[in-house]
């Protein structure tokens, strides 16, 4: 993303000019169009530029390679004006040809083509003017452009796409230097970056899968910052002199899904009873070391479209839960299966204990990732505990996966099948009227609540721990970090 230099003073004269930043997951590619992964996006942010920039701290869209952008009244076209002062790290200027090529590439990418359903085509009006022609308005489009439509040098990519994925050339603030498989990626600040050379010269991204190790590495100074620390270690980090922990409520939402097509769970009363039995606080305390926020509004947080003070989620009510179960014919209790990834077994155990209180015996089946998702897709489960991340602040993108009846393979695992919701979502996606959209999403949220298809439990804490001397670090809900802002 382009570097809106909001932060005021920059201390270029610090003694340190290098930064080691740790990340938990090994990345698989540095080709910006061949991933849909947050960890990878962090690196893209440093190496590449998009037409627009997503400020992850404020969730605003800001100019990037395009110095301005304008959405037409009907939302069907977007016009942009390109900046001409950007150069790729190999010295070539960024041309309209590169931009068009890049757009084409992301739209064809198996990883990213879903984002561009609304885009008919992208055309060059002239050398510096670009137009997106849409087939329907899409409120999320600027975010997609900012996050995924990184600009790559056409000539270089075409010459050797595989080589490019391993040693990319972009026009962002950092130049790629070296990638040591399974260990680290090195980059250095590009002195020719038009918005000014990044304050930290050398940056190393270090893969550390084990969080306990990451903490030791932070303590010994072998890494200067680490994203996604473990909740268990928060107190230790906070109490360690020289380390700072920044947290913010993350964009993920964790919830319990109930398979509505299941024989037992198709009974609305049973589902409602289950929803009433969940004690969110106990899940957070028992499984998240108390370091998470109760999700009391589904996916929607304050400030997002669809958020309403009037929305009231049903309170926990064990007695009523029991009564409902009895009504449903399960006065003597009931056994259900709860599937989860093995990393979420602790959460499942709390839920198990919660449900026990209304007389439901839960058998936990912990599965390895691929088996877990296979079962979800095939509807081969009764209850499932998992999470879903929101890339963009506009709910439409998330909701189309998780609530639309055709989304059973991609998020609507509880198999919600409501024509009413489908219709509302269809309208919400294309509407450009904020008020109308507010109403639509409020309605959807209420409908979902009433459907008892799932119980939202918590929003985890996104965090970054870092050396207290490192400045400019802010936690972001998405977990993406723009190191251009960091300085010693």
């Amino acid at each position: 993303g382009s570097k809106s230099k909001s932060t005021g003073e920059k201390k270029g004269e610090s003694s340190r000019d290098s930064l080691v930043i740790g990340m938990a997951a090994e990345i698989s590619t540095l080709d910006p169009h061949m991933h849909s992964n947050i960890g990878t996006a962090n690196l893209m942010l440093a190496i590449f530029e998009s037409l627009l920039t997503h400020d992850f701290v404020t969730d605003e869209i800001k100019p990037g390679l395009a110095e301005s952008y304008e959405v037409s009244e009907d939302g069907m076209t977007i016009d942009m004006t390109l900046r001409t002062d950007f150069k790729f790290h190999n010295g070539d200027p960024v041309t309209m040809e590169d931009v068009l090529y890049s757009m084409e590439r992301t739209m064809e990418s198996a990883f990213q083509n879903v984002f561009w359903d609304a885009v008919d085509n992208v055309e060059a009006v002239d050398d510096t003017h670009l137009r997106f022609n849409l087939n329907q308005p899409d409120n999320n489009l600027p975010y997609y452009i900012a996050d995924f439509a990184n600009i790559v040098p056409k000539a270089v990519v075409e010459a050797d796409p595989d080589g490019f994925a391993r040693a990319p050339i972009g026009c962002g603030p950092y130049k790629f230097v070296n990638w040591s498989q399974g260990m680290q990626i090195d980059m250095e600040a590009d002195p020719n970056y038009p918005d000014g050379e990044a304050p930290i010269k050398n940056v190393t991204w270090r893969f550390i899968t084990d969080r306990s190790t990451a903490l030791v590495a932070l303590e010994t100074g072998e890494v200067d910052a680490f994203m996604t620390m473990n909740g268990a270690d928060f107190d230790q980090i906070r109490n360690t002199e020289g380390l700072t922990l920044k947290t913010v409520s993350g964009n993920n939402t964790y919830y319990l899904s109930l398979n509505m097509e299941d024989e037992v769970l198709s009974n609305d009363k049973v589902r409602e009873a289950i929803c009433l039995a969940i004690d969110k606080k106990s899940v957070i305390d028992g499984a998240e070391y108390g370091e998470a926020k109760i999700a009391d509004h589904g996916f929607i947080r304050e400030g997002q479209v669809g958020y309403s003070d009037n929305f009231k989620e049903a309170e926990r009510d064990v007695e009523r839960g029991k009564a409902l179960l009895a009504e449903a014919g399960y006065a003597n209790g009931l056994s259900l299966e709860l599937k989860c990834q093995s990393s979420k077994t602790t959460h499942a155990q709390v839920i198990q204990a919660n449900l026990k209180e209304i007389g439901i015996d839960v058998e936990i089946v912990q599965l390895e990732n691929s088996a877990f998702y296979a079962d979800l897709e095939n509807g081969d489960f009764q209850m499932e505990f998992g999470g879903f991340g929101q890339y963009t602040p506009d709910p439409s993108s998330t909701f189309r996966y998780v609530y639309r009846s055709d989304g059973v393979m991609a998020g609507n695992y509880y198999r919600l099948n409501s024509p009413e919701i489908d219709e509302l979502l269809a309208r919400g996606e294309v509407s450009t009227d904020p008020e109308e959209r507010q109403k639509i999403y409020e309605e959807v949220i209420q409908l979902v609540e009433d459907a008892h298809c799932c119980k939202y439990i918590y929003w985890p804490t996104a965090n970054i721990a870092h050396n207290s001397d490192l400045k400019g670090v802010e936690a972001t809900p998405v977990g993406e970090y723009d190191i251009y802002n960091y300085y010693w």
Binding site: N113, V114, D162, R206, D210, T213, T220, A374
Partner: protein, 311 residues
């Protein structure tokens, strides 16, 4: 002996083919679709189909297998589904770490366990024996992730002698080696001890003593060599395991090794990666087993005679 080695080397081929079939079958058995695992939960049907076509995973399993094996014959290990890079590169990149670690572990654990085992066999039922046994067992029962963290807290954080993470320099290997050796030490030590106890009561040991040989010579030259066979077997097995099973240690010390590659491969059903990683370790393993078998011949001439007369 030469013929024996040659024959055994030829046997490596069917073993590798067997392993490749087993692994491939196992990978096919797991229900998930690699394209889905790569693209993530939000991917649509079409995206998955497109990627599957690109990866070739939509083809019949047998065909995929032969494609892979065909490539293998030409020295092409295929491209990783996940990273699209040639698997060969990844393996070449990571193998040395794993191999070096395995060697170090073997050396360290052998160097510690054999003398300890010998000493405790000589002092059977003494205090020394009891203490070494208990320490050895403590080491085995200690989860390696815990031991790893403790070492890290002591040596990296408190004393600041060693770096906590990394796998590029020798110094990085010290703690992982200790951690991995811990479990091996115990079992090798016990094995040595028990084997020595068998041998030490043989008549030829008495003969050696009657020659006036110092106890050290009696032990090392006469007893140990006779006691070595099960120990060498165990060392070989452990070496193989450190080669393929050091995932936990790699992750604790953040080393780039084959274990992590393999585990990620399994998790994302990255068939070429898993196949290649297992085949490479298998190959090494076959060689190690062969070396162990050959060493039997050098340790015990009667076994050598069995090899040569191919009874």
């Amino acid at each position: 002996m030469g013929r024996f080695v040659l024959k055994r080397l030829l046997q490596v081929i069917p073993v590798l083919i067997g392993i490749s079939i087993i692994i491939f079958t196992i990978m096919q058995l797991s229900p998930s679709n690699p394209a889905r695992l790569i693209l993530g939960e939000k991917a649509t049907e079409e995206q998955i189909e497109a990627l599957s076509a690109e990866l070739g995973t939509d083809q019949p399993a047998v065909k995929q297998y032969f494609n892979y094996m065909g490539g293998l014959l030409h020295g092409d290990l295929g491209n990783s589904y996940r990273t699209r890079m040639p698997v060969m590169d990844e393996i070449v990149d990571r193998f040395p770490t794993t191999f070096f670690l395995a060697i170090l572990v073997m050396v360290v654990s052998t160097a510690i366990s054999i003398p300890l085992g010998v000493l405790s066999s000589l002092r059977q039922n003494s205090l020394f024996d009891a203490i070494t046994t208990i320490i050895a067992l403590l080491l085995t029962a200690m989860p390696s992730f815990w031991l790893g963290l403790m070492l890290m807290l002591i040596f990296a954080e408190k004393l600041q002698w060693l770096p906590a993470i990394g796998s590029t320099e020798f110094i990085h290997f010290i703690m992982p080696t200790l951690t991995l050796s811990a479990a091996n030490i115990a079992s090798n030590m016990r094995m040595t001890r028990s084997s020595m106890l068998e041998v030490i009561r043989q008549d030829y040991i008495r003969t050696a003593r009657a020659k006036g040989a110092p106890e050290k010579v009696v032990i090392v030259k006469h007893a140990l060599k006779n006691a070595l066979i099960p120990v060498v077997t165990a060392i070989g097995m452990n070496f193989g395991w450190s080669l393929g099973g050091a995932v936990l240690i790699e992750s604790v010390f953040s080393m780039k090794g084959l274990g992590t590659l393999l585990l990620n491969g399994v998790r994302t059903k990255d068939v070429p990666v898993v196949m290649s990683a297992v085949l490479v370790t298998s190959l090494i393993f076959c060689v190690v087993t062969l070396l162990v078998d050959i060493s039997y011949g050098f340790i015990d001439p009667r076994i050598k005679a069995q090899y040569e007369n191919k009874r």
